[in-house]
């Protein structure tokens, strides 16, 4: 094993509409950079290998697992996280629907589901149940059994 040190990388990116610059080790995931460097802890770590979707963020208009993105890959890109969903005027319709439909219990998967569901509704405002279930297949929830989540997304779509 080599012992040479690896220099930190300067990353310039836009997070939730705000330009940001930070220094990270080149092997750090975008998830860890968001949580530990930028201080946005709304994005959650679940499996850390791309199975559970808890770390879902929007990267240049596509939802991705931020655990499988290296932080330097965000250079020049736009990242949108759960922290960017609500506005000073109120909750995003999806957040409101999740509350009303009780689409969460422990809540660890919720930011990922919300960001993923937003990625769907932003492009397809009126998906059917099958489409919603298919789209959210990359997000795992061990509490709700998914039905409430699907209903909440349907409700938000109609809102």
């Amino acid at each position: 094993m080599t012992t040479k040190t690896v220099r930190n990388v300067h990353v310039r990116t836009t997070i939730n509409g705000q330009e940001m610059e930070f220094l990270v080790p080149p092997y750090m995931s975008l998830l860890d950079a968001l949580r530990e460097v930028v201080g946005l802890t709304g994005t959650k770590e679940g499996c850390n290998d791309g199975n559970c979707g808890a770390c879902t963020v929007d990267l240049d208009g596509r939802i991705v697992d931020s655990c499988l993105v290296l932080a330097p890959e965000a250079e020049g890109k736009e990242v949108n996280t759960i922290e960017g969903m609500a506005t000073p005027q109120g909750l995003h319709p999806l957040q409101q629907a999740f509350l009303e439909e009780a689409a969460l219990q422990c809540g660890i998967c919720t930011p990922g589901f919300l960001v993923a569901a937003k990625g769907l509704l932003d492009n397809e405002p009126d998906p059917d149940e099958h489409r919603i279930r298919h789209w959210l297949a990359g997000n795992l929830c061990r509490c709700t059994g998914y039905d409430k989540i699907v209903r909440a997304v349907e409700k938000a779509a109609k809102a």
Binding site: P25, Y27, L68, G138
Partner: protein
């Protein structure tokens, strides 16, 4: 995890140079959905990761009368969201739209799927039955390798030190061609194939006789298997050429594919189950390929 550098070259030459310098201690990533997981799992350690998404040749897509060529870093969604590619290459789209979930498909692509060389890869069989070729550039120039000759063992490929897959080229299917891919998983989505089969058929103008065919198997051997072909050889024993399209001929192809499989017992399935699945999936995918071929006659 062992610390590694992040390098994002903007040219093929730049990537080849870094890969050549580091040898086995560097790997390219496109989506990173396999390499980053393998690194964290301790399967190997790297000194450098070469992000190839800033190289134009690895990100471009060309679909014209010669066929389809897409860069090795093109993500799955870029293929299945393209109406032209979806209509003309449905057997490839079958795989591109079922690898992982939406998050994975935003990043992962068929170039990485090929280079990862997993026995269970969903994307490789479809490329084989479309007669796709990997275009490779390395320190000694460029070469082309047929996809069926690309994987040499689990996780191992023909790539030599410093070599990079630049693009995958798929010849334009002629009239009367159809292809399909199906896999078996115990869940609806987000799983690794217990067995998968890609089939392609070339029908005559009547739509009732097979002129040529290819059947490729996933997850039932150390590498993807093209039935009737010995890797590296020049001969190919076509399972269906000259036969009429019938239940009998398709059933015989299913049996032949079953015999070509060399599966193992593991947590995902048994040898017997996998052989059975190959038989069933072969018949199903040939049926769907015939349907698609006839629709294009």
């Amino acid at each position: 995890m062992h610390p590694f550098e992040y390098v994002a070259p903007t040219s093929v030459e730049g990537a080849v140079k870094v890969l050549g310098e580091h040898g086995e201690r560097a790997r390219p990533i496109a989506g990173g959905t396999d390499v980053l997981v393998q690194l964290r799992g301790g399967r190997y350690e790297l000194d450098a990761i070469v992000d190839v998404k800033n190289i134009p040749e690895l990100m471009q897509i060309r679909n014209d009368s010669d066929g389809l060529e897409f860069g090795a870093a093109v993500a799955c969604y870029q293929l299945y969201e393209d109406p032209g590619i979806s209509a003309e290459y449905p057997g490839i789209i079958d795989a591109a739209s079922l690898i992982g979930g939406i998050q994975i498909q935003s990043r992962a692509g068929l170039g990485g799927n090929l280079c990862n060389a997993a026995p269970s890869a969903d994307g490789i069989g479809p490329l084989i039955v479309y007669k796709a070729v990997a275009k490779i550039t390395g320190p000694n120039g460029s070469r082309e390798v047929a996809v069926e000759d690309f994987c040499t063992a689990p996780g191992r490929t023909v790539l030599q030190r410093g070599e990079l897959v630049v693009s995958i080229s798929v010849p334009k299917p002629p009239k009367g061609f159809g292809a399909a891919y199906e896999r078996f998983i115990p869940r609806n989505e987000m799983d690794i194939a217990v067995a998968g089969v890609a089939s392609s058929v070339q029908l005559d103008s009547s739509g009732h006789t097979f002129e040529a065919s290819r059947i490729a198997l996933a997850s039932v051997g150390p590498t993807p298997i093209l039935c009737g072909y010995e890797p590296g050889s020049s001969g190919y024993d076509d399972p269906l050429a000259g036969k009429s399209v019938s239940e009998d001929s398709i059933a015989a192809a299913g049996k032949l594919a079953r015999g070509s499989a060399s599966p193992i017992n593991d947590m995902r399935g048994t040898i017997e189950q996998r052989r059975h699945l190959v038989d069933v999936l072969t018949r199903r995918t040939i049926g769907l390929a015939v349907e698609r071929a006839r629709a294009a006659l």
